[in-house]
Amino acid sequence: MKKKSRSAPEINASSMADIAFLLLIFFLVTTTIASDKGLSILLPPKNDQQLDVKMKERNIFKVFINSNNQLLVEEQLMSVNQVKEAAKKFISNNGRDPKSSESPQAAVISLKTDRGTKYEMYIAVMDELKKAYNELRAAYMGVTLAEYLEIENDSKKQNAKFEEAKKAIPYQLSEAEPTNAGGN
């Protein structure tokens, strides 16, 4: 009898790919990529007696969203994408226009909503206001907006210049109690 030189038989691994695919798809479907990002705010401390804060009218930038999701900025009807420019103009006024803010440090944005205001609209406006501040700070630091956001989100990249910009243009947003229109 002739001895056959036998090589090890090849194992068919093509079904392994199918199994791995199945597992992969299972994980893709069942898991959610955690979204741990958002717009941060700091709530005012709880106070029992109403503090009477005296502020000049010219330093307050009033933004109001009613229960029909209409936007009123400084007594003017506006659309969402106009808010940013108006806010930037107001913050960086530096006392030129007597009706606008005296300095970025003094400028405060007051945001007021109705109980019936849609959350989506509120976030859209908050985002625009934040963008106004971020763009001003980015311009102050001499970087682009994208670069600024990167610096803000990475504590390793934060430097003296960032702290300076934060101090020169502080993010001051105050939220008033909502009015009752529109129900829950």
Binding site: M16, F27, L39, R115, K118, Y119, I123, P178, G183, N184
Partner: protein
């Protein structure tokens, strides 16, 4: 006549044995980068879009509050509700939840607790301001409105 017998030429089988390895690599990537859902959502949760996002720094200091229309509308109605952990609560119960969450943290880190509000885009501001009022009451003043990254229009 010919010395060389003609070899049978069939197309050689393509080795696919490295394919599973590639797929497994993808699989492990997804397994590592994703987190399993911690709580079963009882409310609808479509997050709003925003562009100026800030990262939440320390995961361990973050507690989540979900607000939205209940999924089980026959049992809970259609009005937006608040969910913490696995239960639907009224705004009045939020301070207790905050205190419980704070108790889990180290004493030095208690003031740094951040509440992440995951609110459905269809919710109204009324319920959110109620929640914010209660958070102030419980002295959890750092709040983050969770949202997803919007694509720039410009």
């Amino acid at each position: 006549m010919s010395k060389f017998s003609k070899k049978k030429k069939g197309t050689p089988a393509i080795s696919t044995s490295s394919l599973p390895d590639i797929i497994f690599m993808l699989l492990f990537f997804f397994m590592v980068t994703t987190v399993l859902r911690e709580t079963e959502l009882k409310v609808q949760n479509r997050l709003p879009k925003a562009s100026q996002l800030q990262k939440l720094e320390k995961k361990s200091l973050v507690s989540y509050i979900y607000i939205g229309k209940p999924k089980d509308t026959e049992k809970y109605g259609v009005e937006p509700r608040i969910q913490v952990n696995d239960a639907l609560v009224t705004p009045k119960e939020i301070p207790n939840f905050v205190y419980a969450e704070k108790d889990k943290l180290d004493e030095v880190e208690r003031d740094k607790i951040t509440m992440s509000l995951k609110v459905d885009i269809d919710a109204k501001m009324g319920i959110i301001s109620d929640v914010k009022q209660q958070l102030r009451e419980a002295d959890a003043r750092k709040v983050n409105y969770s949202s997803v990254k919007a694509v720039e229009k410009e």
